[in-house]
Structures are given as structure tokens and as C-alpha cells.
């Protein structure tokens, strides 16, 4: 039966062409929606690499280029915060979490360069933020005064720069160049490997991340962002009292105190809003396709009333007719899916979108195919039912 229907569809390829094109377009749209949704879902489910749930972010805009006195003042503020009875700990996290603060730099090991994101954390920050240490240790005061800056690299950097056979601990990154010994470049030494540190939240897609130590004893560098962990049983006036106290210490600075949860929510919203809007547009497009498909199928069934009546006369039951209409449309949709896959696979082959790796492509294609086949099945239900209900004699008489 399947071969018979396949021959029938093939022989009607010209009249099926438009519907195949429509379904192919729908498949491509569905593929992008599915692949994007799967990519976002996979990113959302990856561990962030740090805890944020009950933490606060304090961001500081001191208004001008930071001076040594600014750092002294900041250290004074940190001391004051640590003395407060309603605060567990305070740490510098220079690139603020869940915000658009990023530091990207190129690092190399034995001439192998990668572009990575970095952050600097004060001693104790990584431990208190619950960063997962895979090997080595976190920063401590003993790291001060070295010729190199101690760093924690994430698993992706470790695998990329050192591979599986080499222990990254104790390895130096960015060694002084023999060709250009005068070139100013910070040398790092790997003191630990962490699972990850997805600074900007769940939808942070970049792989490589390096945490460096922030030396609070040095006055030549400033940090605009602190993470504060309040005591449990936080009072409603915590934010206000904190802000008031800090503003009194630095009246000219613009200080903001907000829960990290709020920043995270803003971040998710900023990513999800255009995605949801695109999803709604794609949904309407699919609805249009569904209406078009429904109309075409209805017209197709009406046009074939004689043929379907004839099949009934020759022994097909109503269920056989319904099955035939459904299988035919599934075959047409499958043809469109194959065509659509040939198109969408090009984006992966050409690397057009960084988010489209092979796994996402396969999963996205399968999901798009399932949704499209379901859509076609739903659109086939009524015209198929109408076709199967007609008495053979009426169908054969139909003009």
C-alpha cells in the first residue's frame, strides 16, 4: 500500500509542489524555533558554577577614574560591611554578576591562543560563592607578591589549553614572549581548575572562563562591584540601611544595592522577551500554514471524491480511506521534512550560527519534524473524516 501511495504522490508531484514548499518553509521555521529553544534549554540547565539565591550585589560608580584614595575608601567600606551583624561576608567580584560587565582577553599557553572571559575575585569569594573546585585550591593571602597572578581556569579552558594528558596545575599562561621581552603582559599561573563560572547567568553561552585573584592590598586598581551575603532572617530595611550607610561613607559615589535574584531575573527577561516574541510570530506563521494546509487538503479531498468513491466501491472501508488520506499527507510532509533538513543542515555545515552544533541540529530537526507531522495529522483529521463518510454511490455520482 505504501509503495502504491508513494507512486501516486510521485505522479502528482507537480500538484503537490506548492504544498511541499509550504511545508518545507514551515519546517525551516520550526527548526529554528526548536533549535533555539533546545539550545536555550540546554544552557539554562547547565550549572552556573556559583550560588546567588540569597546574595546581594552592590555596584559602585565613583564618577571618575579611580584613584588610590578611592580604593582606600572602598576597603573602608568593605571593613564596615563586614562589621555589620546582619552580613555574613562581603567579597569583590569585579565583573558584576548577571550584568553586562564583561572582560574578554586573549591568553596563550605555548603559543596556543584562546579568547576568554575573565573576572577577578578577592580571597574567599570563590569558596563563599560555592564555586565547584575540580582540582587545586582557591586563592589565599599567600598568593600575594608573586611574579605571576594566580588564576582558576574552568574545565573548558583546561581541556582546550592543556588537553587530557597534562595536569594544568602549576602551568603558566601568558609567559613573557622571547621575541618581544618588553611587551607588557600579565603572566598567570594555574592554581586550580573549577567546573564553570557563568558570570552573566543561565544564557551565558561562552565556554572559556578564567578567575584571577583581586589583591585588595594594592591601591592601584579599583573594583566597582561587591557581592554581599546577608545573615538569614533578613530585615525588610536591609537594603535601605545598607545604602544609607554606604552613601554616608562616599556621598559622591552612585551606589546601587539589589538582590542578585533581581539581576538574574532581568537577565532572563532580556533574553527571553525577543525569543518569546519570535516564538509568537512563528506560532502565527504555523497557524497560517495550518489554515492553508487545511484548505488545500479539503480541496484535495473534494477534487478526489471520484477516486475515493471508486476505492470504496472496490473494497476500501471508510477506515481505509481515512488511513490513505493521512498516510498520503504524512508522506508529503516527510518529503518536505527531507527537503527542509537539506536546507537547515547547510547552516550547521557552514557554521552560520554558533549555537547550532550537530547535537542541536539533530534534536531541533527531530522536534520540528514531530511538530510538523502532528500539525499535518491534525489538519488531515476533518477532510479525511469527510472523505471517509461519503457513500460510494454518492462519491461516484459527485460532480
Amino acid at each position: 500500500m505504501l509503495m502504491h501511495l508513494f507512486r501516486l504522490i510521485w505522479n502528482r508531484k507537480l500538484s503537490n509542489l506548492l504544498i511541499i514548499l509550504e511545508l518545507t518553509l514551515a519546517f525551516v521555521v520550526l527548526y529554528f524555533v526548536s533549535a533555539t529553544a533546545l539550545h536555550l534549554w540546554s544552557m539554562y540547565n547547565r550549572p552556573l558554577g556559583f550560588e546567588w539565591q540569597s546574595h546581594y550585589s552592590m555596584t559602585i560608580n565613583q564618577g571618575a577614574e579611580a584613584s588610590e584614595s578611592d580604593m582606600e575608601r572602598l576597603n573602608g567600606m568593605i571593613d564596615r560591611l563586614e562589621q555589620r551583624s546582619d552580613i555574613d561576608w562581603v567579597h569583590i567580584v569585579k565583573q558584576a554578576l548577571f550584568q553586562n560587565w564583561h572582560w574578554s582577553t586573549s591568553i596563550n599557553h605555548e603559543g596556543d591562543y584562546i579568547q576568554t572571559y575573565m573576572n577577578t575575585l578577592s580571597d574567599g569569594a570563590a569558596e563563599d560563592l560555592g564555586v565547584t573546585l575540580l582540582s587545586g585550591r582557591f586563592f589565599n593571602e599567600g598568593d600575594a607578591g608573586q611574579a605571576w597572578l594566580p588564576v582558576l581556569i574552568n574545565r573548558a579552558v583546561s581541556e582546550r589549553l592543556f588537553g587530557e594528558g597534562v595536569d594544568p596545575l602549576g602551568q603558566n599562561i601568558n609567559p613573557p614572549s622571547e621575541d618581544q621581552p618588553d611587551q607588557e603582559q600579565t603572566e598567570y599561573r594555574v592554581i586550580g581548575v573549577i567546573e564553570d563560572f557563568r558570570q552573566s547567568g543561565e544564557f551565558w553561552g561562552d565556554e572559556y572562563y578564567v578567575l584571577a585573584r583581586f589583591d585588595t592590598s594594592r591601591n592601584d586598581t579599583f573594583a566597582n562591584s561587591l557581592v554581599i551575603r546577608p545573615q538569614d532572617g533578613l530585615s525588610a530595611t536591609f537594603e535601605a540601611s545598607l545604602l544609607q550607610e554606604m552613601t554616608q561613607m562616599a556621598p559622591s559615589w552612585n551606589i546601587t544595592v539589589r538582590p542578585l535574584a533581581d539581576y538574574r531575573q532581568d537577565r532572563i527577561r532580556s533574553v527571553m522577551t525577543p525569543i518569546i516574541l519570535s516564538g509568537i510570530v512563528a506560532g502565527f506563521l504555523l497557524l497560517m500554514v495550518a489554515f492553508g494546509l487545511f484548505g488545500v487538503l479539503w480541496q484535495n479531498v473534494t477534487r478526489r471524491t471520484h477516486e475515493l468513491g471508486l476505492r470504496r466501491a472496490l473494497g476500501a472501508s471508510a477506515a481505509d480511506i481515512f488511513k490513505q488520506i493521512t498516510i498520503e499527507m504524512m508522506l508529503v510532509a516527510s518529503f518536505a521534512i527531507v527537503l527542509g533538513t537539506l536546507i537547515t543542515i547547510q547552516f550547521t555545515l557552514l557554521g552560520t550560527f554558533s549555537s547550532l552544533n550537530w547535537m542541536t541540529t539533530i534534536k531541533g530537526s527531530v522536534l520540528a519534524a514531530v511538530v510538523l507531522l502532528m500539525l499535518v495529522a491534525i489538519c488531515t483529521l476533518y477532510p479525511g473524516w469527510i472523505a471517509s463518510r461519503k457513500q460510494p454511490a454518492d462519491a461516484l455520482r459527485y460532480e
Binding site: 500500500m1 509503495m3 502504491h4 507512486r7 501516486l8 505522479n11 502528482r12 471520484h306 477516486e307 471508486l310 476505492r311 470504496r312 466501491a313 472496490l314 473494497g315 476500501a316 472501508s317 471508510a318 477506515a319 481505509d320 457513500q391 460510494p392 454511490a393 454518492d394 461516484l396
Partner: protein, 225 residues
């Protein structure tokens, strides 16, 4: 003694619309023994095709009983009726009703698609049926590439491919010239005599009707004796 091929008792068919009630057939009693070649004659609109549709289980009577090869069909479900049509009955229509997008061979195999028959057996049976009507050389052609007579021969091959006990032919020569008509009638006669197939043929042609075993005349939905 074997059951009659077709038995109709007090069969009526009434078409009802909102305003009009039309009696197409009125209390028809008819028995056709197995192996008989019967022709049905009558003026246009007298109910010949309606009678054929009822006997062929393409339509349901408003009243009365129909038996096909001894089996009462009144209370059979739609799927059971389809099975009887598929296994016991063949149809030849005036306008051939071939599927234009399928080759001659694909058209002929259609009835076997609804049986548990392997693809190779189905194709072989279709080729054999086409050979019987002298069209084996045309099996990869499409209906539009054939003459009217050839198309009707394809329709006959399709009707006999499943070796039905009964063949209904609704004006099979109505769209053909007299020479083609003779050829088709000759094929039907051969089928009746060689295979013992019961044939019921609706025709307007008195000459053709006289070549069959019995003529049933219908007028205004009633049988004339």
C-alpha cells in the same frame, strides 16, 4: 443447490430532500442465480443504476432485503460490506473511473490493496488480468494515453483481478463506438462462460441485451414482467 448470486425482496429506494420525496425503486423482487448473465434495460431515470448500486452494496435500500451469495446484508457493518465488495463483487462503470495519475498496472491492482496479498502476488495478478483483456503490453501506460475501448478494458481487468463471483457493469459500452462496444461485450461473455462469473449489466442497447441470458426491464422504479 447453491444460493442465488443476488436475491432482492421487496427492495425500495426513496430519495428524500426537504421538499420532495422521490421513489427510485419500488418493491423490487429479483433473484439472479450464480453464473447468469443478466442485462437491465429501461429508459433514463427509471432506476437501473440505483438498482445496480443497491445490488453492488454501493448504496443502502430504504426498505427490503438484499442477499449476496446467500448472505443477508441489511445488518452488516460498513467494514463488512466493504469486505464483500472487495472479495465477491467487481464493478465496471460507464465512465471507466480510472485514476489518471496511476499507471494501468497500478489501477488494476487497486482492489488487491485492500486484501492481505503480497506486493509481488498483487502485481502478478494485475498482469494476468491485463493479459486476459489483451492489454499486457500497455501496463506501464497512463489512462490518458489509451483509447476509450482500452480504458474500459483496463476497468474490466481491475474488476476481475480479484476473481469476484459477481460483476456489475453500468452501461460499459455507453461511451464507446459500436466496434469497441462489441469487443467489451465479447470480453464480458467470455468471462461469464469461461469463469462462471455472474454478470449484471445495465444497457440501453437492445442488441447487446439480447446477447445476455435474461433481460430485466425497469420502468418508473418497477420491474416489468
Amino acid at each position: 443447490m447453491s444460493a442465488p448470486a443476488i436475491s432482492l425482496q421487496q427492495v425500495s429506494k426513496v430519495y428524500q430532500t426537504d421538499r420532495v420525496e422521490t421513489t427510485a425503486l419500488d418493491q423490487i423482487n429479483l433473484t439472479i442465480p450464480q453464473g447468469e448473465f443478466v442485462s437491465i434495460m429501461g429508459p433514463s431515470g427509471c432506476g437501473k443504476s440505483t438498482l445496480l448500486n443497491l445490488m453492488g452494496l454501493l448504496d443502502a435500500p430504504s426498505d427490503g432485503d438484499i442477499q449476496i451469495l446467500g448472505q443477508q446484508v441489511a445488518h452488516l457493518k460498513e467494514k463488512q460490506l466493504a469486505t464483500i465488495r472487495n472479495l465477491k463483487i467487481g464493478f465496471v462503470f460507464q465512465s471507466f473511473h480510472l485514476v489518471p495519475d496511476l499507471s494501468v498496472l497500478d489501477n488494476v491492482e487497486i482492489p488487491l490493496l485492500y486484501r492481505s496479498v503480497s506486493s509481488s502476488a498483487r502485481r502478478q495478478a494485475a498482469r494476468d488480468a491485463l493479459e486476459r483483456v489483451g492489454l499486457k503490453a500497455r501496463m506501464s501506460h497512463y489512462p490518458t494515453q489509451l483509447s476509450g475501448g482500452q480504458q474500459q478494458r483496463v476497468a474490466i481487468a481491475r474488476a476481475i483481478v480479484g476473481q469476484p463471483a459477481i460483476l456489475f457493469a453500468d452501461e460499459p459500452t455507453g461511451n464507446l463506438d459500436s466496434q469497441m462496444g462489441k469487443e467489451i461485450l465479447s470480453i464480458l461473455n467470455d468471462l461469464n462462460q469461461q469463469s462462471g462469473t455472474t454478470i449484471v449489466m445495465v444497457t440501453h442497447d437492445q442488441h447487446q441485451a439480447e446477447q445476455t441470458g435474461r433481460i430485466i426491464r425497469i420502468h418508473d422504479g418497477q420491474m416489468i414482467h
